[in-house]
Amino acid sequence: MAAETGTPTTLTLKSNDDELFSVAESAAILSVTIRNMVEDGCAGGVIPLDNVDGKTLASVITYMNGISAIPADEEKKKSYRDKFLSDKDFETLADMVLAANYLNMSCLMDAVSAKIAQVMEKKSVGWVRRKFGIENDYTPEEEAAVKEEHKWTFEGVETDDDN
């Protein structure tokens, strides 16, 4: 392991579009998926990550390096995560949440999920549909029935013309 030899071990990760990335093992093992491969001794050559594209993987590695450089201080880690996600659009966030899920990185998974949830918070159904481009496939009768079933959840929502 890195700590024993004194020189940091680096791993090579390969995205599904064949981009190669070098990353310090100490940062990469934030991913339980990668950690398991390292522990099983499969990390000698290149680690293929079939479900992550190069653009997303580059972003995830930036996060790995950034967060692992912060000592055990939850406040600072949280503010790093907030800053890291602040300029990401929804498309990127969706790629990240899938990658975090595949790589089994619970801290990134939670942060991205919370960020997506934040967008939906206290918003009307119409607003959320437009924001995410969700197509309403209910018939008007069906929609009215679902609304009626959960009518208590429609109080105090930001008003919207098609709420």
């Binding site: 899920n101 999920s113 159904v125």
Partner: protein, 466 residues
């Protein structure tokens, strides 16, 4: 299909986990694929405070949701509930009991309960249903408002051993029952006490020494408080700026971090005893204690604090100050700060103890001894009752010299590890060789009388030697 709806169900549920119950349920209207996603998210969270229907509707809503998890043999990993109860409302109490039992059966990991009674202020409070402490094993956060918490609330064993946060507001609880909860719930990290009647003494001793600041237990005491004693070991105590602790008489802070600046703004009109023991963070602050009736102040620590006291009422007051001289300390600064501290304690009858960590580097104070001359003239030595030195024999002379440059003790006492008779003779020489003319003995010249008493190792009493 759109991007978000394409995400796997478990990811969508993870997203919904971060939403309130209302927001999560409302996603069922988005489209057909969203209809049931919310139903099996890992958590449930109901608040009567934000619910717009009737009490009956609220109860059925919680019932129905919890039942669905039971029917599908799924576990609610986290359950949050904010509810008001009334003694006359037996149904709500029964429902709550059923829910808590259901959560215990399904193995819920985290349960947060905020429970408030509707009783009018002044009338007797309703007893907190015993199911809370006796059944809710997964209870982590508990907020209780307007209840009586006594034997009836936990006649049998307290099972909620995972409690991490305890907030009591307008609760009637006596010292013994409060201690019982605290001793049965060793994981309590945060506690706040606001307007609680019956509770006069708070004693928190956290046996686990926290490794990081995050692990420190945090206690918050809000005025108006009727607390007479606060005794905290290994915790974080939050003071509100300007709070008036009108009944507080005894305040013990041992290895505590606190907002020292806020403490300076608090009023302690009844405080008699203040103990500050090894509170490291105090090093960076200057504090002011507004406690005009203080009788005794005890300080123990590895550094000299900057503390000043408000003008006090007449009467005798005592202070025990035990400070450690670290090898890294600069002698001039250290004795200067000691002098400042003794100045602020000038209205106290002070017993001063100085410890010196043994060091292999020889006599560090001796090396700085010439700098000590600089203190001369800046501040007058302060009269103290006694000076106790615990150090190596080789640094006794310079430590005593330094101490005498800033204070005038009535009695000097010393402790030498494995002290032998020849050590005592050397001390005798140090104390009596006042005529040597060495500059380093300067302060010893003020010594009026020397008499040494020795206790032998069998403790057979004191033998004066001359």
């Amino acid at each position: 299909m759109d991007r978000i709806s394409e995400l796997p169900k478990e990811i969508l549920q993870q997203i919904l986990y971060f939403l309130s119950q209302e927001d999560a349920v409302r996603t069922s209207v988005l489209s057909k694929s969203w209809h049931n996603i919310w139903c099996t998210r890992p958590n449930l969270d109901f608040s009567e405070a934000t619910f717009n229907g009737s009490k009956q509707e609220f109860l059925s809503l919680v019932d129905k949701n919890l039942q669905r998890y039971c029917d599908e043999r799924m576990c609610v990993k986290e359950f949050g509930l904010c509810i008001s109860l009334d003694e006359s409302d037996r149904e709500s109490v029964l429902r709550l009991e059923n829910w808590i039992r259901a959560l215990t059966d399904m193995g819920t990991k985290k349960f947060c309960l905020s429970i408030r009674s509707e009783s009018e202020h002044g009338s007797e409070f309703f007893h907190l249903p015993s199911v809370v402490f006796e059944v809710a094993e997964s209870l982590q956060d508990l907020h209780v408002e307007k209840f009586t918490l006594d034997q009836k609330s936990f006649e049998r064993t307290i099972l909620s051993k995972h409690l991490k946060e305890l907030h009591l507001e307008n609760v009637y609880i006596n010292n013994k029952d409060f201690q019982r909860i605290i001793s049965c719930c060793p994981l309590v990290e945060t506690a706040s006490i606001k307007s609680c009647k019956g509770l006069q003494n708070i004693k928190f001793s956290f046996y686990k020494t926290p490794y990081t600041e995050d692990e420190r237990c945090s206690i918050e005491i809000n005025p108006p408080s009727y607390i007479q004693t606060i005794y905290i070991t290994n915790g974080d105590l939050k003071f509100h700026k300007g709070a008036d602790f009108r009944n507080l008489e005894y305040l013990y802070l041992r290895r505590v971090t606190t907002s020292w600046d806020h403490l300076s703004w608090c009023k302690f009109p009844s405080l008699k005893l203040l103990v500050i023991d090894n509170c490291d963070r105090l090093k960076e602050s200057r504090i002011f204690i507004d406690a005009p009736r203080i009788i005794c102040f005890d300080y123990r620590g590895d550094f000299i604090p900057s503390i000043s006291f408000a003008t006090t009422t007449p009467g005798r007051r005592y202070s025990n100050t035990r400070v450690t001289y670290m090898p890294s300390d600069d002698a001039t600064t250290w004795f200067f700060k000691l002098n400042e501290l003794l100045e602020s304690l000038s209205r106290f009858i002070t017993s001063l103890s100085i410890y010196q960590y043994s060091t292999n580097d020889g006599d560090v104070i001796q090396e700085n001894i010439n700098l000590l001359q600089g203190i001369n003239g800046c501040n007058k030595p302060v009269a103290v009752e006694s000076l106790w030195l615990d150090c190596h024999l080789f640094s006794f002379s310079s430590l005593l010299n330094g101490a005498l440059s800033v204070c005038r003790p009535r009695i000097i006492d010393a402790f030498f590890f494995q002290g032998k008779m020849d050590h005592i003779e050397r001390v005798w020489k140090i104390l009596t060789e006042r005529e040597s003319g060495d500059e380093e003995r300067l302060w010893l010249q003020d010594l009026e009388e020397v008499s040494i008493e020795v206790e032998d190792k069998n403790g057979e009493g004191w033998h004066p030697i001359t």
